[in-house]
């Protein structure tokens, strides 16, 4: 008889999703602001690069990262020398993979949200002396807070549910790289459908709750209870 629930994998998945989401926000907010406010012609290429993980098969991305972070490349050897251990098959390696894999799910909602802010408000803030940081923190983020929420929820859920990158880059090490998705895969492989049902139900429940949260916010906007973007 298996345990009712692999709490270790559950906790690891939550930890991975939380750390990944926090790092993603730190990257995605300035990146989205740059994509919306910037003038360089290279920004289209940057946006395409940030969106690439969305269309790349997860196993392909996982394989590339495995090779890049492995001992055969200068990057991999440099990281190993710096950390004292390779990034592949470690929790930190999973974080790197998850950040790259979920990047478009954080950037795209923020780009859409920032782009919807009235440019007259951005101009007004710039005229009043707001630099890029203040512009983002005092105008773009508060006015695109629903997009921020969507970015947080999508990044978190996408990381919780990822499988291909995790398996390729982290393998299946209990307490270190075994996430709920890996547990579910193992349960199915062992024909333990009762346990697989429970694991899948947890993943499904988390997704439904999070999406309900996003759509309840969207409902507020449609019924006119949300804030306007310009006055």
């Amino acid at each position: 008889m298996t345990e009712l629930m692999d709490w270790q994998a559950f906790a690891l998945s939550l930890r991975l999703a939380t750390v990944t989401t926090a790092i993603l926000l730190a990257i995605a907010v300035p990146l989205a602001a740059l994509l919306v406010l910037g003038r360089s012609r290279w920004l289209a290429a940057l946006e395409a690069l940030a969106t690439l993980p969305m269309v790349l098969p997860p196993t392909v991305l996982g394989f590339f990262l495995l090779v890049l972070l492995g001992p055969r490349t200068a990057v991999g050897r440099g990281i190993t020398a710096l950390l004292g251990h390779p990034l592949a098959f470690s929790f930190n390696g999973l974080v790197v993979g998850s950040v790259i894999y979920s990047l478009p799910f954080a950037v795209q909602p923020l780009v859409a949200g920032f782009a919807s802010v009235d440019t007259a408000l951005v101009d007004a803030a710039r005229l009043l002396g707001a630099g890029p940081v203040r512009l983002v923190t005092s105008i773009l983020v508060p006015l695109a807070r629903r997009s921020l929420l969507a970015a947080i929820v999508l990044s978190f859920l996408h990381t919780i549910g990822e499988f291909g990158v995790v398996l390729m880059l982290g393998g299946d090490i209990p307490g270190s790289t075994r996430t709920l998705s890996i547990v579910l895969y193992n349960q199915v492989e062992n024909f333990d459908y009762a346990a697989a049902n429970r694991t899948a139900a947890i993943l499904l429940g988390m997704s439904v709750i999070a999406l309900a949260l996003i759509y309840s916010q969207a409902q507020g906007r449609l019924s006119g209870t949300g804030s306007k973007h310009s006055a």
Binding site: L121, A125, G129, S230
Partner: protein, 236 residues
Amino acid sequence: MLEFSLHARRGSFQLQVECAFSSDWTVVFGPSGSGKSTLLRLLAGLDRPTRGRIALDKRTLADTAISLHLAPGRRHTALVAQQPALFPHLSVAANVAYGLRSLDRAARAARVEEMLALAGATNLAARRPQDLSGGEAQRVALARALAPAPRLLLLDEPFSALDGVASDALLERLQLWLKENQVQAVMATHDVTDALAMGAEVLFLREGRLTALGPAAQVLAAERERLTVRLQHRSD
């Protein structure tokens, strides 16, 4: 003294103006699409000219020859447009205080109060922008623009939502305040009566070119004649 020599292209439209004036109040007059708003945006630093130079009181704000383009917030220039663009998530008082970060809390509060009083909007301090009428929002936008003490005030048909009496009273107060504080103002309008009423120096723009610069009565003589004829036709 404001000096500029600007060339800018927006799609098929081209603006090419060269001008210098030191009067307290200058009106940029021209029909819709003549380039008034484009000119003000270039002076404010919100858009970049294709080539040219802008200097305010001998301080160069932009010069394409040396790739200089001061950020809008570093030009000591304010722009009040027809659309007030108040920050909807902030109160009126917080909107006016937005450009006053360098002041301490007490000085900031005093400045906000002073500017709201000047704009006739003291009673609006605690309100949200979405609860204001168009005219009230324009008053607050003016107070917000003046709060950081600009050297140059650019007005792009800023009081279109105010009725004539309120607009005249506000303009009178504003002109007095600008004179006391030695702030140069440039106001864009397509309304010949507004331009004449100011009695100021007028810069006449047509299809992106400067066609005349001088006293309102002189530059707008033909426009005044046309307006008089139109009014006579209507009364007949």
